[in-house]
C-alpha cells in the first residue's frame, strides 16, 4: 500500500496518500490540526497573561510599604483563587439547556436574539443564535469568527460584552450582556424624528463607539440603527460585527474558502433582492404631511431587518463599487443615520434595494434635504461632510475631525458616557422587554429555508463524544478572564 523503504538505517521515504480516507475523516483531520495549533497558541498566551497578572500584583504589593506580609499573602491567595476559578470555567461546557428562554427580542438574517436566564445562577443574558448551515451557504463563517473576535477582544463600554460562546450541531450561540433599552431603529420608529439636541447626543456617542472599533483595527461596515443598542441608562453600545473585517487570518474569506475546498459546498446562493413588502415610497416626494406613508415605510423597514438581504440604506457607495474602502465608510453610515434622526427617513430610501443602491452610487444628485424640515446649518453641513466621497469625507483622518465639527460644539467628549441620556428606559424588572417588539416578533414567520436547514440538521446523527461539528468553528468556545472575574461571570 505505501511506498516506503529505508534509505539508510533509519531514514524513511514515505509517500503520503490520503485517498483511502473518507471525506469526513479528512475534514476531521484538518479541523484537528487547527484545533491543536490553536490550543498551543492559546496555552502559551494564557500562561503569559497569567504571569502578567501576577507580576502586576507583585508590583502593587511592593509599592504598599505599610501593608503587612500577612495581608500581602492574602492578596496572593486571592489571585490564586481567581486564576483557579478561571481554569475551572474552561472546563465548563455550556449548552443551550443551561438557559431558559424568557422571550425572543430580536431577529436577524441568520438567527434570533433571545432574553435568557441562566438556570443555576438566575442571571440574565441576551443569547444570539446563528444557524450554522445557513452561514455556511452564505459565506458567513468568517463573519461570525470576526464578530466573536471583536466582541471578545474589546473591553470597551461602547461595544456589547460577550461572555461565552458555544455550539451544537445546529447553532452557534453567543451569550452577551442584555441591553434592555432596545435599539435605535425601534426608537426611531417610536419617536419618528429627534430634535437636534437629542440627535447630537446619539451621534456623539456613536462617534466614540465607532472610534473604539476603528482603534481595535476593525471596520464595522454595517453601522445601522438596528445595531445601535441602548443600555439601562439610555447610553448606546454597538452590536453585530457580522460584517466587520479585521486583520486576523481567520477574518479572511479566502481563508475559509481554502479550508472548505474539496468539500461539496454548493456555490453560495445568489442573494436575490427582495422587494419591500409594502408601499412604495420615494424619498424625494416624501413630505411631513405623508406621515402615514412614512410609518408604513417604517414597518417595512423592520421587516427588512429580518430578511437576509438586509437594508443597504446605510452602506457607503465605495463598498458597492468594489473600489476598495477603509474605515471612513463607517462615517458615511453615521451621516445617513444622522439624516434619518433629523429628517425621519434615511437619505436614499427607495422602493427596493436595487433602487437604493442606485441612489447611493449617485449620491451627488440623490442627496436631498426636504424643504419642510428645518435643519441648522451646522447639522446640514455635518451630514454633507459625511455623505460625500471617501477622499473628501470628514473623519478620514480620524474621529477627532468629526468631534471638532461645529455641530458638536459644547460636547464634553470625556464625560459623554456619564451624562444623563435623553431617553432613559423605564424598567420594571431585569427581564423587562417592553422596549422590544416582542409581539411583532412572534408573528414573524421563520423563513422556509431556515426552517428546512434547522429540521435537516436536527435529524442528523448525534455526533461522537466531544466532537464539534463543522470545520471552521473550532475555538469558538470562548470565555474571558477579566470579564468573568470582574463582572461575576456566569
Amino acid at each position: 500500500t505505501q511506498a516506503s523503504g529505508s534509505l539508510n538505517n533509519d531514514y524513511i521515504i514515505f509517500s503520503r496518500d490520503d485517498s483511502m480516507f473518507s471525506s469526513s475523516t479528512k475534514e476531521r483531520a484538518k479541523a484537528l490540526k487547527l484545533k491543536v495549533e490553536l490550543h498551543y497558541n492559546q496555552s502559551v498566551a494564557h500562561a503569559v497573561e497569567r504571569n502578567q497578572r501576577r507580576v502586576e500584583l507583585e508590583q502593587e504589593l511592593a509599592s504598599e510599604a505599610r501593608m503587612s506580609e500577612e495581608r500581602k499573602n492574602r492578596r496572593r491567595q486571592q489571585l490564586g483563587k481567581q486564576e483557579s476559578s478561571f481554569l475551572r470555567l474552561r472546563r465548563l461546557r455550556l449548552t443551550a439547556d443551561d438557559f431558559l428562554t424568557v422571550k425572543v427580542i430580536g431577529k436577524g438574517a441568520f438567527g434570533e436574539v433571545r432574553l435568557v436566564q441562566k438556570k443555576d445562577t438566575g442571571k440574565i443574558y441576551a443569547m444570539k443564535t446563528l444557524l450554522k448551515s445557513e452561514m455556511f451557504k452564505k459565506d458567513q463563517l468568517a463573519h461570525v469568527k470576526a464578530e466573536r473576535d471583536v466582541l471578545a477582544d474589546s473591553d470597551s463600554p461602547w461595544v456589547v460584552n460577550l461572555f461565552y460562546s458555544f455550539q451544537d450541531a445546529v447553532y452557534l450561540y453567543l451569550i452577551m450582556e442584555f441591553l434592555p433599552g432596545g435599539d435605535l431603529m425601534t426608537m426611531l420608529i417610536k419617536y419618528e424624528i429627534f430634535t437636534e439636541d437629542v440627535t447630537r447626543f446619539y451621534m456623539a456617542q456613536c462617534v466614540l463607539a465607532i472610534e473604539t472599533v476603528h482603534k481595535l483595527g476593525f471596520i464595522h461596515r454595517d453601522i445601522k440603527p438596528d445595531n445601535i443598542l441602548i443600555d439601562k441608562d439610555g447610553h448606546i453600545k454597538l452590536s453585530d460585527f457580522g460584517l466587520s473585517t479585521g486583520f486576523h487570518k481567520t477574518h479572511d474569506q479566502a481563508y475559509y474558502q481554502r479550508l472548505l475546498e474539496n468539500t461539496s459546498t454548493p456555490p453560495s446562493e445568489q442573494q436575490t433582492s427582495r422587494p419591500r413588502n409594502s408601499v412604495m415610497v420615494d424619498a424625494i416626494h416624501l413630505t411631513v404631511s405623508n406621515r402615514n406613508q412614512i410609518n408604513t415605510w417604517r414597518k417595512s423597514r423592520r421587516l427588512m431587518a429580518y430578511s437576509t438581504v438586509g437594508t443597504p440604506d446605510y452602506i457607503a457607495p465605495e463598498i458597492f463599487l468594489h473600489s476598495g474602502y477603509g474605515q471612513e465608510c463607517d462615517w458615511w453610515s453615521l451621516g445617513t443615520i444622522m439624516f434619518e434622526c433629523l429628517v425621519g427617513w434615511p437619505p436614499f430610501c427607495a422602493e427596493d434595494a436595487q433602487e437604493t443602491y442606485r441612489k447611493i452610487v449617485n449620491w451627488q444628485t440623490q442627496l436631498y434635504f426636504p424643504d419642510e424640515i428645518q435643519l441648522s446649518p451646522e447639522a446640514e453641513d455635518l451630514i454633507r461632510s459625511l455623505i460625500t466621497s471617501a477622499d473628501q469625507r470628514l473623519g478620514r483622518h480620524g474621529a477627532e475631525e468629526i468631534k471638532a465639527h461645529p455641530f458638536f460644539r459644547g460636547v464634553n467628549w470625556d464625560s459623554l458616557r456619564s451624562i444623563d441620556a435623553p431617553f432613559k428606559p423605564q424598567l420594571t424588572s431585569i427581564t423587562d422587554t417592553s422596549y422590544f417588539p416582542t409581539d411583532e416578533l412572534e408573528n414573524v414567520p421563520e423563513r422556509p429555508e431556515v426552517a428546512a436547514a434547522r429540521a435537516n440538521a436536527m435529524s442528523q446523527q448525534p455526533t461522537q463524544i466531544g466532537e464539534e461539528t463543522g470545520l471552521p468553528f473550532i475555538g469558538y468556545t470562548y470565555t474571558r478572564f477579566n470579564r468573568l472575574s470582574r463582572q461575576g461571570g456566569l
Binding site: 524513511i12 503520503r16 475551572r88 463524544i465 466531544g466
Partner: protein, 208 residues
C-alpha cells in the same frame, strides 16, 4: 513485553522511530511554561483542566484513525509486538477485546468521569474528592495506552494525514505533564520507552 530495538528483524523498526518523523514537532521550545503549576493556583484545578484537554485532543486523534481501527485490523488492543492490553471485566477478570472495542470503552469510561460533577466539579462551590489524584492517574494510564496503540498500529495513517508533528507534540506535552505530576509509573511507559528516550535525547523535555 514489547519489542526491543535489537529484535531479530532490524528492518521492523517502528515507523514512529524513523527519521524524519521522530524529529517532527509542532511545538518548538520547552513545554514547561505550560506544564508547571502556575503560582498560587490550586493543583486539583490544574490537573483537572489538563486531563480534560488531553482527553479532548486524544479523542480527536482517535477520531481520525478510527475508520481503520476495526475488529478485523485490530483484533486485540496491541501496543507493539507481543504486547496486548486486556480489559478487566466487572469481576476483575482480564478480557481480550478488539482494539476499537477496548478504546471505545476507555473513552466512554473517561468521559463519564470527566463529566461527573462529584469527580470533576465545574460549579462554583464543588471541591475535588480525596481520590482525585488517583482518578487522574487511572485516566492517564488508559490514555497512554491509546497513544501506544496509535503509535504502534496506526502511525502510517497519522503520516498520510500529515499529523505527525501535532501528534508528537501532544505526546511530548503529555509525558512532560505526567513527569511533573507523577501520573504514570515507569513500567506503564514501556511500550513507548524507545520513543520517549529518543525525545529525551533531542532535549524535548528540558526545563525552561
Amino acid at each position: 513485553m514489547p519489542n526491543s530495538p535489537t529484535g531479530p528483524r532490524v528492518a521492523a523498526k517502528p515507523l514512529f522511530l524513523c527519521k524524519p518523523f521522530v524529529t517532527s514537532q509542532l511545538v518548538k521550545g520547552s513545554f514547561s511554561t505550560i506544564v508547571v503549576l502556575p503560582k498560587y493556583v490550586d493543583q486539583g484545578e490544574w490537573l483537572a483542566l489538563n486531563v480534560f484537554e488531553f482527553f479532548d485532543m486524544l479523542n480527536r486523534f482517535y477520531g481520525v484513525i478510527n475508520e481503520f481501527c476495526t475488529p478485523r485490523n485490530c483484533p486485540s488492543m496491541s501496543a507493539g509486538p507481543g504486547l496486548d492490553y486486556t480489559w478487566l471485566d466487572a469481576n476483575k477478570k482480564p478480557m481480550r477485546l478488539p482494539a476499537p472495542t477496548y478504546i471505545e470503552y476507555v473513552l466512554q469510561w473517561i468521559n463519564n468521569r470527566i463529566n461527573d460533577e462529584t469527580i470533576f466539579p465545574t460549579k462554583a462551590k464543588g471541591g475535588f474528592p480525596q481520590s482525585f489524584e488517583q482518578t487522574c492517574k487511572g485516566i492517564y494510564k488508559q490514555m497512554f495506552r491509546i497513544f501506544a496503540h496509535i503509535y504502534h498500529t496506526h502511525f502510517d495513517k497519522i503520516l498520510h494525514m500529515s499529523l505527525e508533528a501535532h501528534f508528537n507534540s501532544l505526546f511530548v506535552h503529555f509525558i512532560h505533564f505526567s513527569r511533573t505530576f507523577n501520573l504514570l509509573e515507569q513500567r506503564d511507559l514501556e511500550p513507548l520507552r524507545a520513543l520517549i528516550e529518543n525525545f529525551e535525547e533531542q532535549g524535548l523535555f528540558k526545563d525552561g
